[in-house]
């Protein structure tokens, strides 16, 4: 197993300009590390540079201490799973899986045994001699995984491997991938634009946009303590209200919104390096699931409004409220009060759930 170090990695294309801008990060041995970001943020290009299909303009890629920046893809000893699987259409499932072994001159019984093991690992023993076009999308994806793991590479790279699967299958595959990682302990780098996948599977996540990494941290860290406004908006359903700090009293911060409403936050719940003195502009954010219906006794951080939209999504009831401070999204869990469109309700933006972020959009 290896650790992977990216050192000020930069790549630009003549058409699209700089797609990866001075990215530095380190993936530890045995980690399941995710590059998360919207399409076009440079995450796939970063992965392709790690795999050896693109050459960076500058910067360095190291596996442990070994500089592999310009090593050919075939010499890197990585396993790669493509978004569209890229199975060899003229070969059987077993031949596909055995390709990496054949290249490494592992043949005969030894190869057959390894192929059998790999197929068993992804529960495809029955399909060994099938043509790859006879398989379903999910099965093809598992063949691709077996093919990338069979020769025991030191690093596994996954490029949006689930984006072609349907919702139900994705949940199953997530679990399967988690188990596989737990069993093999292989250092893995996973690229996705799906925040749910990233949060569910990773030991750590790097959130990227417009060629830059905004935050690296555990799923809980990036979700609960976003370091930039982009991270705050990209993960989950978040409400953000821009205002001006009026008073800082102990750890209590009072933010005055344009309509005159004041919202209380805390100095312990802000993005790092956020200037907090009277007059500084900040965004007060609160996640939809942290907004509750206000009780009679609530005084602070209460806003009233009219329900403009209700969406029943099973476990939760997602509502949208029109209020003086702007629209409020809230997710109600369980069978409490069920507002309907047009109802007038008051909600509590609990100061314990308010998180302060910078006002300016992503740099």
């Amino acid at each position: 197993m290896v650790s992977v170090t990216l050192d000020r990695l930069t790549k630009s294309f003549s058409r699209s300009g700089v797609v990866v801008d001075q990215i530095s990060l380190r993936v530890e041995e045995g980690e399941f590390f995710t590059l998360l970001g919207p399409s076009g943020c440079g995450k796939s290009t970063t992965l392709r540079m790690i795999a050896g299909f693109e050459e960076p303009d500058s910067g360095q890629i190291r596996f442990n201490d070994r500089d592999v920046t310009y090593a050919p893809a075939s010499k890197r000893d990585v396993g790669l799973v493509f978004q569209n699987y890229a199975l060899f259409p003229h070969m059987s499932v077993a031949k596909n899986v055995g390709f990496g072994l054949a290249v490494r001159k592992i043949r005969g019984a030894a190869a057959a045994e390894r192929i059998r093991e790999a197929l068993a690992q992804v529960s495809l023993t029955q399909q060994a001699s099938a043509r790859v076009d006879e398989l379903s999308g999910g099965q093809q994806q598992r063949v691709a995984l077996a093919r990338a793991l069979v020769y025991r590479p030191q690093l596994l790279l996954l490029d949006e491997p689930m984006s072609n699967l349907d919702a139900k299958l994705r949940l199953d595959t997530r679990a399967a991938l988690r188990n596989l990682h737990a069993e093999t302990g292989i250092t893995s780098i996973y690229v996705t634009h799906d925040q749910a996948e990233a949060l569910a599977m990773s030991t750590r996540v790097a959130v990227m946009t417009t060629a830059k990494v905004h935050q690296v941290g555990t799923p809980a860290e990036v979700y609960e303590r976003p370091s930039t406004r982009f991270v705050a908006t990209f993960l989950g359903r978040n409400n953000i209200y821009d205002g001006v700090v009026t008073t800082v009293d102990g750890d209590k911060v009072l933010v005055r919104l344009p309509d005159g409403t004041s919202i209380t936050g805390s100095t312990s719940r802000t993005s790092p390096d956020l200037p907090l003195k009277p007059g500084s502009e900040v965004g007060a954010s609160i996640r939809a699931e942290a907004v509750h219906i206000a009780s009679e006794t609530d005084r602070q951080n209460v806003v009233g409004g009219i329900v403009t939209d209700v969406e029943f999504v099973g476990a939760t009831l997602s509502c949208e409220l029109e209020t003086p401070i702007g629209p409020v999204l809230l997710d109600l869990i369980g069978a409490g009060i069920r507002p309907t469109r047009g109802d007038r309700i008051s909600v509590l933006l609990s100061s314990a759930s308010i998180y302060l972020v910078p006002v300016e959009p992503a740099p």
């Binding site: 990215i23 201490d65 310009y70 199975l87 290249v103 905004h214």
Partner: protein, 587 residues
């Protein structure tokens, strides 16, 4: 704001090989090397000869290249014969577009919109003209419709009219050949458009209250426009290039004929002038076609069930459609039937009758007894094989580097590769004559004109675009990730190429190569200007035999060509079915 996760240390020791950043030259070595080869071949055999012809057209001497003068160009544009030939070529092409367009579109609508008994057979037969050998096909037309032809004769027998009045000669003869050999362009493009058009658009039109007539006029026909225009451009180009039909119907008022006449008169300069003019017109049309191809073609956007053909239920309508479709189809395959009948007709066995009176197997017996009977077949097979071999190297090679490598000037290279496809066979032949009648570095310092090599070279130049195009298509279909996958699994470039790339694209390349091979076996136009008597290609032999009155022998050679074409069509069809199955697997 960028947050590095961990402090980054400098690496000190490595046990593995160190890979340095390759130099600019090393990184581009493969592109530079392959491009150099490509450009040398393109320049030596395609662009260079074109320039040689243009240069020859400017010489002050009729036969040799001397000095520079525009004098001859002035004469060319003032000459009544030449001006008339330009107008003649264009008129013929426009007329061909109209007649072939009407026929092709009608047949396409008839055969793809209504279900009636026998539709499938008609559909297959309608494509048979593609398999008709070019030269023998035109001969068949001449014997059917020309002076003393069987159709006018039959009309005379049945209706008591004077057959003489129905002999098709000159322009009329050429036009009927063009109509009936070129209409498949329209038939194929319009059929494809009809099958691919979105039924829900028609349904939408009906649901908004439009009548059937209005729907056809306002929805269905406008959607066919791109297909019809594409067919028209192709038809125009191949009519401009047509040489065989004017030759056999003795219609000299076209540019291709004038090229050959000037060359026979020893005026290579005039031949070069006409060839250059014709080349420029063809290139202009190639440019128009390529621009038009960029535009959107209407395709179905709905998922699910394909087009439902309206089944004709009323008995009367069935009879009416069948009555139109069957004779029409029969008429279209008439030349093929004619060649077949001729190959069994004894000499003098078909004089004053509608059908032959005397049949024989003696022409086929020549296959086993005739001295040197197989020689022209072998010559043509060899010439085609050499040409196709070269075309696979150049065409498929160029397609590969153009689809996988990054470099500037790709569009220019693409145009240069496709250029000979637009050039008439006569022009290609004249270009090669002007370029290779003197010792040339591209012919190892030798003169190629008058040797065996010049004919395969002409085939190579003419049919390379076919291989290039089919290879480009199959490389475009292949997911580049598949190559990356093999590389990341540890395979070298060469291993990946052998085990992954070649098996996946070989069918597409072979499909183009087989088509090129078939075209080579039937090639007449440039052969007639370039062949040497020691190596007579098949089509030349057919022409010679027919002129000597051995039409039976010519017809047997024609049937051999038909057999070759059908073999190739069957093989290609099979490959396509399998390729379709393959392409499903990657999605």
């Amino acid at each position: 704001m960028t947050t590095g996760a961990t402090v980054i240390g400098e690496s000190t020791e490595t046990t593995n090989p160190v890979y340095k950043r390759p130099s600019w030259f090393r990184r581009r070595l493969s592109v530079i090397a392959t491009l150099t080869v490509l450009l040398v071949v393109l320049f030596g055999y395609v662009i260079g000869p074109m320039i040689a012809t243009a240069r020859r057209s400017l010489s002050t001497d009729r036969i040799n290249t001397m000095g520079i003068s525009f004098h001859a160009w002035g004469e060319f544009f003032l000459s009544d014969t030449q001006r008339s030939a330009i107008v003649g070529s264009i008129t013929l092409s426009i007329l061909s577009v109209i007649t072939a367009g009407l026929l092709g579109t009608t047949v396409a609508i008839l055969l793809s919109r209504w279900n009636f008994p026998g539709r499938r057979i008609c559909q297959i037969l309608a494509l048979l003209p593609i398999a008709t050998p070019p030269l023998m096909g035109v001969w068949a037309f001449k014997l059917l419709f020309g002076v003393g032809g069987r159709i006018p004769f039959a009309l005379g027998e049945w209706f008591g009219v004077a057959p003489k009045d129905f002999w098709l000669q000159g322009l009329a003869g050429v036009l009927i050949v063009h109509t009936m050999t070129i209409y498949p362009y329209f038939f194929l493009t319009v059929s494809a458009a009809l099958m691919g058009s979105d039924v829900s658009l028609e349904e939408a039109s009906y649901s908004m209250g439009a009548s059937k007539a209005r729907t056809w006029l306002r929805v269905v026909l406008p959607m066919l426009t791109p297909a019809v225009v594409a067919g028209a451009l192709l038809t125009f180009m191949s009519s401009m290039a047509s040489y065989t039909a004017p030759l056999l119907f003795q219609y000299t008022n076209v540019m291709t004929q004038q090229i050959v006449i000037s060359k026979s008169n020893g005026d290579m300069r005039l031949a070069s002038i006409i060839a250059t003019t014709l080349a420029m017109i063809s290139i202009l049309f190639l440019a128009v076609i390529r621009t038009y191809e960029q535009r959107k073609i209407y395709r179905t956007q709905s998922k699910g069930g394909g087009r439902q053909r309206s089944t004709v239920t009323s008995r009367l309508a069935k009879v009416v459609i069948a009555l139109i479709a069957f004779p029409l189809t029969l008429f279209l395959v008439l030349p093929m039937i004619m060649i077949l009948v001729l190959s069994f007709t004894a000499k003098g066995g078909w004089l004053a009758t509608i059908l032959p009176t005397d049949y024989t197997l003696q022409w086929y017996a020549q296959m086993f007894t005739g001295v040197d009977f197989w020689q022209p077949v072998i010559n043509s097979l060899m010439m085609s094989l050499i040409a196709v071999g070269g075309a696979i190297l150049l065409g498929a090679g160029a397609a590969y580097i153009m689809s996988r490598m990054k470099f500037r000037g790709k569009l220019g290279l693409d145009i240069a590769m496709m250029l000979p496809w637009a050039l008439p066979g006569t022009v290609v032949a004249i270009n090669l004559i002007t370029a290779f009648s003197d010792p040339s570095p591209f012919a190892a310092g030798r003169v190629l004109v008058g040797t065996f090599a010049i004919v395969p070279l002409a085939y190579f130049v003419r049919f390379n675009p076919l291989v290039f195009r089919s290879s480009t298509a199959s490389w475009a279909q292949m997911d580049p990730n598949i190559e990356d996958a093999a590389r990341s699994l540890g395979a070298t470039w060469w291993y990946t190429f052998r085990k992954i790339v070649l098996p996946l694209v070989s069918r597409g390349i072979m499909a183009g190569a087989l088509l090129a091979f078939v075209d080579g076996v039937g090639e007449f136009v440039s052969s007639v200007l370039l062949y040497t008597p020691s190596y007579v290609p098949l089509s030349i032999e057919i022409n010679n035999q027919n002129y000597q009155g051995n039409i039976g022998t010519g017809a047997v050679y024609g049937m051999i060509q038909v057999a070759l074409v059908l073999c190739v069509l069957v093989v290609t069809q099979r490959m396509e079915t399998r390729a379709d199955a393959d392409s499903l697997r990657t999605t």
